[in-house]
């Protein structure tokens, strides 16, 4: 028997052991979506560089929507900081051993790249702005006339998307004190989950204003610029089907990674096995298996498969479920991770 009594730091009563609340799961979720959207947009931009119709959805609206989503994530991140007025200190240094440090620099570059990517079709996507700032149309034409530049921008999007997608997982992964996070699967899982949530988000976005005419004003136009297709209405079927097909792949890989994650933890040290117990009978079991795996992966996987086979009509339900599951994954990992701790080797026998 091993009994510990302490005047503080009892994990059941000491709030300092639970350091991250709702803000970090929200940021990880939104950051993951933006990362996925950058990768998907990058692939679409490669097709754009090859001469595909520039009115296509992905490369035009995705950076704008990503830009707005990233603002939501950054707001959550700022709300989490306890010493908010000192946030600038992040950009006075680059700490190579701290994923949070280089992640912060990646975020800064991501903002710039999203803006430049949005410029490719911004005046067309948001006519209100295009009419008032004629220079935007010239920038847009200049970019479109240079396939090599668009190709380079596409690759920058893809590389930055991968970096943004994995850095949060590496950040948690480096914390030796939290065994649930000590798995190299985590960055890959976050990346694939981000890709799947991104496909779902883009699918959902195409359905918000299903047809033209788009709102032309300042606010309505801005909103439409983020979510509405410029090309044929409704969007070409292959575009939607491609998103659904990609999402099926992402969800299947995600399922595999979750399996490897659990097996990896169970077959590792006592601390890691104890961490796995948090989702295998512990307090996070229902959210993990019910929310993340069943509602977030299995149900949308089956629904989308049936949709592609024309057995049921296309709806936004799978996309909504995938997004809910993506958030649940971040929520479980952040909360259960903080609840996991190193098991004293000397206390085992």
């Amino acid at each position: 028997m091993l009994e510990l009594t302490t005047t503080r730091h009892n994990p059941l009563v000491d709030p300092s052991l639970h350091v991250w609340g709702w803000e970090i799961p929200v940021y990880l979720f939104v950051g993951g979506i933006v990362a996925g959207m950058m990768i998907i947009a990058g692939i679409a931009m490669l097709r754009l560089a090859k001469g595909e119709d520039p009115r296509g959805f992905f490369s035009v609206q995705t950076p704008l929507l990503g830009f707005m989503l990233l603002n939501v994530g950054m707001l959550a991140l700022l709300l989490d900081l306890a010493h908010k007025l000192y946030v600038w200190a992040v950009y006075l240094t680059l700490e190579p051993l701290s994923p949070m440090s280089w992640g912060s620099w990646v975020l800064l570059v991501v903002y710039g790249v999203l803006l430049v990517s949005a410029l490719i079709r911004l005046p067309d996507a948001w006519p209100w702005l295009g009419a008032r700032v004629p220079a935007l149309a010239r920038v847009s034409d200049w970019l479109l006339a240079r396939p090599a530049l668009i190709r380079a921008l596409a690759w920058v999007n893809i590389v930055l998307g991968v970096m943004l997608g994995v850095y949060t997982g590496i950040l948690l992964n480096t914390m030796v004190a939290r065994p649930l996070w000590n798995t190299t699967i985590l960055p890959v899982l976050f990346l694939v989950s981000g890709l799947s949530a991104a496909a779902a988000m883009m699918h959902l976005a195409t359905r918000i204003f299903p047809g033209r005419p788009a709102p032309k004003g300042l606010v309505g136009g801005a909103l439409a610029a983020m979510v509405q297709n410029l090309g044929p209405q409704p969007p070409e079927k292959r575009t939607g089907d491609a998103l659904v097909r990609a999402d099926i792949g992402f969800l299947a890989v995600e399922l595999l990674l979750i399996g490897i994650l659990v097996i990896g933890l169970l077959s590792s040290t006592a601390s890691h096995a104890a961490a796995a117990e948090l989702v295998l009978g512990g307090p996070y079991t229902l959210v993990f298996w019910g929310g993340v795996v069943a509602v977030g992966i299995l149900v949308p996987l089956v629904l989308q498969w049936l949709e592609l086979g024309h057995r049921i009509p296309h709806t936004v339900l799978p996309a909504v479920l995938v997004l809910a599951g993506g958030f649940a994954l971040r929520w479980v990992m952040v909360n259960a991770g903080q609840a996991s701790q190193i098991v004293q080797a000397a206390g085992l026998h």
Partner: protein
């Protein structure tokens, strides 16, 4: 350059918490928080029980995860005594160091920055022991340079049996407990 460490004799410690109060007073620790605390560990099966009372705090690890994860360099290894310190006006309050510490040694000061034991560096500079060491009524705590083989702490570690907390974390803590 010194490598400061602490050696605590668990055979003498009675868990009076004088060290806790001394630290709170010396360092003006906000009400409800503490930089050191007492842990009582009971092992065995009745009637064969052993008990160890420990005064615990930041271990000023040789391999400090809280320093590596810090995005601003606020958490750093101070050249003086190679102790782990926090520069409060560089700390953004991201709490990564709280999550990274296996000992739960850190907390967020109500002013917003990460806070923890400093080994009373301000006293060390004046040639004094940390507050907790200086007040201990059983003289169970010792403080000094671990790199100096003649220091009291080095002699104790060379002549007595000891353990550190969670050595399996690989952090190489510098608070040692004599058994």
């Amino acid at each position: 350059m010194a490598r400061l460490g602490m050696v605590i004799d668990t055979r003498k410690c009675v868990g009076c918490m004088d060290c806790v109060v001394a630290c709170q007073t010396e360092n003006d620790v906000p009400h409800g928080y503490c930089r050191d605390w007492i842990t009582t560990e009971v092992r065995g099966t009745f009637p064969n029980l052993t008990m160890e009372i420990r005064s615990e705090r930041c271990n000023h690890c040789d391999n400090p995860p809280c320093v590596y994860c810090c995005p601003t360099g606020a958490s750093h290894v101070e050249p003086l005594g190679k102790t782990v310190q926090v520069t409060s006006n560089r700390c953004i309050g991201c709490k990564a160091c709280l999550a990274a510490c296996p000992y739960g040694a850190r907390f967020v000061n109500p002013k917003g920055y990460a806070d923890k034991c400093t080994f009373c560096l301000h006293r060390v500079k004046e040639g004094k022991d940390p507050a907790c060491v200086s007040v201990c009524p059983t003289h169970c705590m010792h403080f000094g340079d671990l790199d100096d083989p003649k220091s009291a702490v080095s002699v104790l570690l060379a002549t007595r049996t000891w353990h550190t907390l969670l050595p399996e974390a690989g952090t190489r803590p510098r608070v040692f407990y004599l058994t």
